[in-house]
């Protein structure tokens, strides 16, 4: 840091010798255009690869189009949206997704919170034990899907074997809808509880020490200390965790696709998996796009809520 500061003067001298560019180059490199110029490559890349295709499919959602037919798209107005919103099949998928989201996010919050309490203090080997806890979060969703497929295997899987100790029949995840849903929820929550834990830890660390010292003097009980001092500091982070995980779990695809393929029947088929089937198995491209845009709307709303919560937290921290 000190070296950079002292070398600043040396750099300055070296720059004074440079000539000023003129003409078009000079115009484009002028200080006012510095921001836009630096941002342009990123915006162009995003537009070409991401935003343009999205707009194209948004347009497509107002047409009748099948990707496996040669027939040109025919304008259909809001028909796709009307179809999507009135089809009971789709509401079943939204119900399945909601069930998984609620179950998994709730489990993550509880487990993550408890893990954070366990790891809040410094203790020997903490860094190494944290590695064990945190690594599931970094694994690939598809790897976790494959793992759990093995663990739920009725003859080999240790989870199935373990559960069978308490039940009379062998545990087969696809045997009942409830089992399949719980299986997906457990796999997802196992993977993402460490995420909640990290956020809660960040909140616990941010509590000023003097508050605890003051509570000590007032002889506040453990529960009271937690409720009046600790909780207000982690509340905003819990909210962030809730929003972030809701957005991410709402999109759940890989785990379900690999673990249950939406079965039994369609009881664990989430909206993402259904969009996939609509688009690439039934080739109802425009209806899939319409359903997709309903998801986009939900995600955009949740993302703005999330950023709003971030901003509120930053203002709180500054105050």
């Amino acid at each position: 840091m000190t070296t950079t500061a002292s070398s600043a003067a040396a750099l300055a001298q070296q720059d004074q010798g440079g000539r000023k560019a003129v003409g078009f180059i000079g115009w484009i490199l002028s200080p006012e255009r510095r921001g836009p110029l630096l941002v342009a490559p990123a915006i162009v890349t995003l537009f070409v690869v991401n935003i343009f295709p999205l707009l194209w499919s948004f347009g497509l959602s107002f047409y009748e189009y099948k990707a496996n037919r040669i027939a040109p798209p025919a304008f259909a107005g809001l028909a796709n949206y009307r179809y999507v919103l009135t089809d009971p099949e789709i509401w079943v998928r939204f119900g399945n997704t909601a069930m998984i989201v609620v179950g998994s996010v709730a489990l993550q919050l509880v487990v993550g919170f408890l893990l954070a309490l366990l790891f809040a203090q410094e203790f020997p080997l903490r860094r190494y034990l944290l590695m064990l806890i945190l690594s599931p979060m970094m694994l690939s969703l598809s790897a976790v899907g494959v793992f759990f497929k093995l663990f739920y295997d009725p003859t080999l899987g240790f989870i199935s074997r373990f559960i069978s100790l308490f039940t009379t029949d062998t545990f087969v995840i696809l045997s009942t809808p409830a089992r399949a849903t719980i299986a997906v929820v457990v796999a997802d929550a196992w993977m993402w509880s460490p995420f909640v834990m990290l956020l809660v830890l960040a909140g616990l660390v941010s509590v000023p020490k003097y508050l605890y010292e003051a509570a000590e003097i007032d002889r506040a009980g453990r529960w009271r200390r937690f409720r009046t001092i600790t909780f207000p500091y982690i509340r905003s982070l819990l909210l962030l965790a809730l929003l972030f995980r809701t957005i991410e779990t709402f999109k759940i695809f890989d785990i379900v696709y690999l673990l249950t393929e939406g079965g039994p029947g369609s009881s664990t088929e989430t909206v993402s998996v259904y969009v996939y089937r609509l688009a690439f198995q039934f080739f109802r491209t425009s209806q899939a796009s319409a359903l997709g845009y309903i998801m986009v709307f939900a995600v955009v709303v949740l993302t703005s809520l999330y950023l709003y919560a971030i901003q509120t937290r930053q203002t709180e921290a500054r105050a």
Binding site: L54, M138, S142, R161, L201, S272, A279
Partner: protein, 291 residues
């Protein structure tokens, strides 16, 4: 950087806590351990019930990840997995490097020379990342076919570059935002050019952050499944897709082999998790939460 590398803690606890946390960690880590263990087991050991915790390890599974014995006898044939591992590395390495270069420029601008509607741009950029990938895949799948990009390196690398861009921008911006502005202002005061302020004052201070961003993005790309499933061909297939194909539809899955593939696939990730502990929170929240 003087920053500590661990996740921060409050107060101290003794070996008693190590014991408690140790037991919990081992239970939590058990699924991963089980895979690692299975990878080193012979077929009968892997299928043995109850679970065998003590066994003589073998590398047989790792060998058969890359070479399959021919049923008709004769030499072992290449299973293609060396190509898939190469693809995964090459595709994620290239696309993340590109994304990081473009992203750092944009992040610096967003941080230091705010545009009109800066926050709106940042919001849109983040949103493109938050959207369900399944939505993006529909048009991209069709457009890739039209332009003949499906199954090519160019296509998937371009896609992953865009996929990593929002992450890189938000992450790198968060590092630029954390810097002490006084140092660069001192440089400007002394008449240093903006390029030199960026190149010789700001950038060296965030090398650590750039490295963290790079590794993080590589892992995210390395792990990505859906885009790879839809848009890679036999020549460009990545490991997650190859894994899913190996397990899909078969009656008797060779779990020892599967575990060996998974082990090779996740070991780098576990090591990186250990090295990046301090940046993990920032990484998994796209730089929106720093501490």
């Amino acid at each position: 950087m003087s920053e500590r590398r661990e996740v921060r803690a409050i107060g101290k606890a003794g070996w008693g806590r190590t014991l408690g946390a140790g037991i919990v960690s081992l239970i939590y880590f058990f699924p991963v351990y089980f895979i690692l263990m299975t990878a080193f087991k012979t077929r009968p050991d892997a299928l043995a019930m109850p679970i065998k915790f003590f066994f003589s390890p073998t590398l047989e599974n790792f060998y058969s990840v890359f070479w399959r014995a021919d049923i008709q006898g004769g030499g072992a044939t290449d299973s293609g997995f060396s190509l898939y591992f190469f693809n995964s590395l090459f595709i994620s390495g290239t696309s993340v490097t590109l994304a990081l270069i473009i992203g750092t420029a944009a992040a610096y601008a967003f941080s230091r020379f705010p545009l009109r509607g800066n926050d709106t741009y940042l919001f849109i950029i983040l949103t493109t990342r938050m959207l369900p990938p399944i939505i993006a895949i529909i048009p991209i799948f069709v457009l890739f076919r039209v332009f003949g990009l499906s199954g090519s390196y160019t296509g998937i690398i371009a896609l992953y570059t865009a996929f990593n861009l929002p992450f890189s921008i938000w992450m790198v911006k968060s590092f630029f935002d954390d810097l002490d502005r006084d140092i660069e202002d001192a440089g400007r005061m002394d008449g240093s050019s903006e390029w030199n302020v960026f190149r010789k004052v700001c950038l060296p201070q965030i090398y650590g952050g750039l490295a963290a961003t790079f590794v993080f993005a590589v892992i995210l790309t390395w792990n990505e499944f859906l885009f790879a499933l839809m848009l890679t061909g036999t020549e460009t297939r990545t490991v997650p897709v190859a894994i899913a194909r190996t397990i899909g539809g078969q009656v008797g899955v060779d779990w020892g082999l599967m575990s060996a593939i998974e082990t090779l696939f996740i070991i780098p990730v576990v090591i990186v998790t250990f090295l990046l502990q301090n940046q993990l929170l920032r990484g998994v929240t796209f730089g929106t939460i720093r501490k």
